[in-house]
Assembly symmetry: C2
Homo-oligomer: 467 residues x 2
């Protein structure tokens, strides 16, 4: 049987012994607050699979769906391009999987080499982007996947109308062969449209919010189209889930969650995720939605005004050592920095001997880029710690579907824990309604007349504050 290595979570540099008395945590502090973790864990376990914790069971309950996804994916893989029309949770997970587990220049490879369609994840409504996407598509050989649980996401539905009209004009009745809908099974517009138009459909199960949907058909279908082993991905999720079953010091998501929660209480309002791997760059973007939208809340569950939340920042090692590290080591003590390392990269590149008369070049020769990226990560960890900056590290044995599954599940479970610690609703997003409603009003949508009145009666901007 294949042996799987677990990701390693190292929080030495969150402790007083390493980052010093003022910033660090003591063992006693963790012990004294451990009931917070135990309670969060209890809440999580008691609600597993229920309400908006439906996603916890996705690694276990999708056998039939995975089979169906694979069948459909096999057909799609003959296409030249696969285009996801979706935004937020309908896009970020797929982007993360694509970047992690495919060739970094996938879309530029010859078909024979990439063995899968090109992938485009269209998560914006910039008109330039839409036109320029069409410049690189051969519609005859393109399949679109429109993803919206409610079927009322303005951005996605606009894209859908534009694309579907184009497909209808080109292919008439056969337009439907070019489009797949991923949506709620019962409610909303998109399922109705899909039925009317006889589209292939996949469903987003109950209890799975957008930012937890990467391991539902939302992320799994595009992943399967790309040739990613989605069984291994889900196995990785299970692997992590099993590591998190007990409320003890061996539960990495719980310890990470508790440390993050306690850091927030100490005023660390910024969470930096800094993977040292280009493949993991978009895992950081995915995390940024998960963390921001889940924990950024005005009210707690008792309706107290709390204005809680920690601002996530994605950075890329070593690249952002030349952009952000100056601030991280010398600026305010307002952050917790999580470095993500990779033990074994799938490629090794040697740095040759040349120009050996220059010491600042010569010391590199004979080593590998692998050594360099790893030593720079360790050196950055050291520099942050020496400057008393709270930091921790996650290290993956290698990047593959299993370890990525672990990592995604790790962050999702941790987020749920921290939401429970904060006593907030981790799974809603009431703060986005105001902007949505104002958009509807600006378009003169029926039912939004009073919002339009409100907008019109808002204080007019003053020219003196415009330069």
């Amino acid at each position: 049987m294949k042996e799987y290595k677990s990701l390693v979570f190292d929080y030495n540099n969150m402790m007083k012994d390493f980052v010093g008395e003022k910033e660090g945590f003591s063992e006693k502090e963790l012990k004294n607050n451990f009931d917070i973790a135990v309670n969060a864990h209890k809440t999580f376990e008691e609600n597993r699979g229920l309400n908006m914790l439906g996603w916890t069971e996705l690694p276990y309950n999708q056998k039939g769906i995975v089979k169906h996804i694979k069948t459909v994916a096999k057909r799609i893989r003959k296409a030249d391009a696969f285009v996801v029309l979706g935004i937020g949770g309908s896009a970020l997970g797929t982007n993360a999987l694509f970047k992690s587990l495919c060739h970094l220049h996938h879309n530029e490879l010859k078909k024979s080499k990439r063995k899968a369609p090109k992938l485009y994840v269209e998560d914006n409504i910039d008109p330039v982007r839409m036109k320029e996407l069409l410049d690189v598509l051969d519609l005859d050989k393109t399949i679109f996947n429109v993803i919206s649980k409610s079927g009322s996401t303005s951005e996605t539905m606009s894209q859908f109308l534009i694309i579907y009209k184009m497909l209808k004009d080109l292919y008439g009745e056969n337009a439907k062969d070019h489009i797949i809908a991923t949506t709620d099974e019962k409610n909303g517009n998109l399922i109705k449209i899909a039925k009317e138009e006889d589209l292939e459909t996949f469903f987003i199960p109950d209890g799975v919010g957008g930012r937890f949907s990467v391991i539902s058909p939302v992320g799994l279908l595009p992943a399967a189209v790309l040739g990613i082993d989605i069984n291994e991905l889900l196995k990785g999720c299970i692997h992590m889930d099993k590591m998190c079953r007990k409320p003890n010091l061996k539960n990495p998501a719980l310890i990470f969650g508790l440390l993050q929660y306690l850091s927030m209480q100490k005023g660390k309002n910024i969470s930096v995720i800094m993977p040292y791997s280009d493949n993991l760059k978009l895992i950081a973007d995915w995390y940024c939605q998960l963390w921001a939208e889940s924990l950024g809340k005005k009210l707690d569950l008792k309706n107290n005004i709390v204005h809680t939340g920690q601002t996530p920042v994605g950075a890329l090692g070593v690249t952002d050592q030349h952009s952000q590290i100056q601030l991280y080591t010398e600026g305010p003590f307002d952050k917790v920095i999580t470095l993500i390392g990779v033990k074994n990269f799938k490629e090794t590149v040697e740095i040759p001997h040349m120009f050996s008369e220059y010491p600042s070049v010569n010391f590199l020769s004979g080593n590998t880029l692998n050594d360099l990226i790893t030593n720079e990560r360790i050196a950055t960890e050291y520099a942050l710690t020496k400057n008393q900056r709270l930091n921790n590290s996650i290290v993956l044995e290698e990047i593959n579907a299993h370890t990525i599954g672990q990592l995604l599940m790790f962050f999702m479970i941790q987020t749920a824990y921290v939401g429970a610690m904060l006593n907030i609703d981790t799974f809603n997003q009431p703060g986005v309604e105001e902007g949505k409603n104002a958009t509807y009003a600006l378009f003169g949508r029926k039912g939004y007349e009073s919002k339009l009145e409100e907008l019109k009666s808002a204080k007019q901007k003053s020219d003196k504050y415009i330069i």
Copy 2:
């Protein structure tokens, strides 16, 4: 004569009248603090062109260089690919120009359509990235541009060794035709190597730090290769520079700078830049380096310990409305949010009439994506303001080399002003030394023996904090 429109800076929503008493600024407050702005402006003007403010003169003093850049670029444009080997300031500006002013799928277009080489900006040392870059290059038709002022940037010099060895093995003496060096004219390894090897060279002038180098040959050569009108870009810089000559309420960078400085004093430790345009996405990344590395400082000019700095966050409108806006509207009051809008996009995309029985889809039909992205920006501004979140807006008439020049200069001048207000050295980055030295030590580089001793004698990590 061509008429150029200036970017518009709107700070209504920084004022009490709009975001409320608690968060907003009063006119009196601005007036009372205006001497801070006047002094910063004075410092800036007095030092224009001197020391590390050499970059202020780049829009004016590069006539001959621009001509030479264009000549060389014309030759390079026949190549199939142009690869920048550089990191931090040697990469971010080029990325920003590339994404802003070229086709969003430039590298995927057929040569006949793109009319310029493919561009790759290699700003990391991930071995997978290096191997996978080589998968898509035809070295016979590729030209590399190695960029490092000091010639001792480990990442860039490693890349250079790897690539140059490969070119030497393939082309022998002619390897030099495939590589251009951009570096300091007098000092460092790279200029020496370039001379020994007879490489084509461009120089980074004195007084131009990496994060201010986009309008030097660092950014201008790749831009010219891409076919970007670099004269227009520099004209845009001059246009903005002229707008900033006086310390008054008509100087947009100064007012923005003062507001940002005062916000920092009020505890807003996060600066969000959120362009509503895919083309401007990497302008945000460029800004993030500029802002973080310039203002994130431990010491002020009098050597007081200040640990100053504001953490920059790049977000993309409308995309990140589905990721970050929940946090921005409901989370802590710890941010200033700068939206960047575009008045006229270069493309217009209509949303067709279809499925009109569904109100949440129907209201979109007959409008354009242009309307949608603009209304969503206005609606987000409204929602932020209603939730008492400090925000301001920059609006570009359209995206072209001139407006991008304005925008870059606007941010660079503003950064210099705020650095002066904070009384710090805006142009150094001492905080990155620790990590660099630790890296050298880990490689056993000569002269770093005591650092290695220090690393070895650091407290050993405890297994109990590793899961």
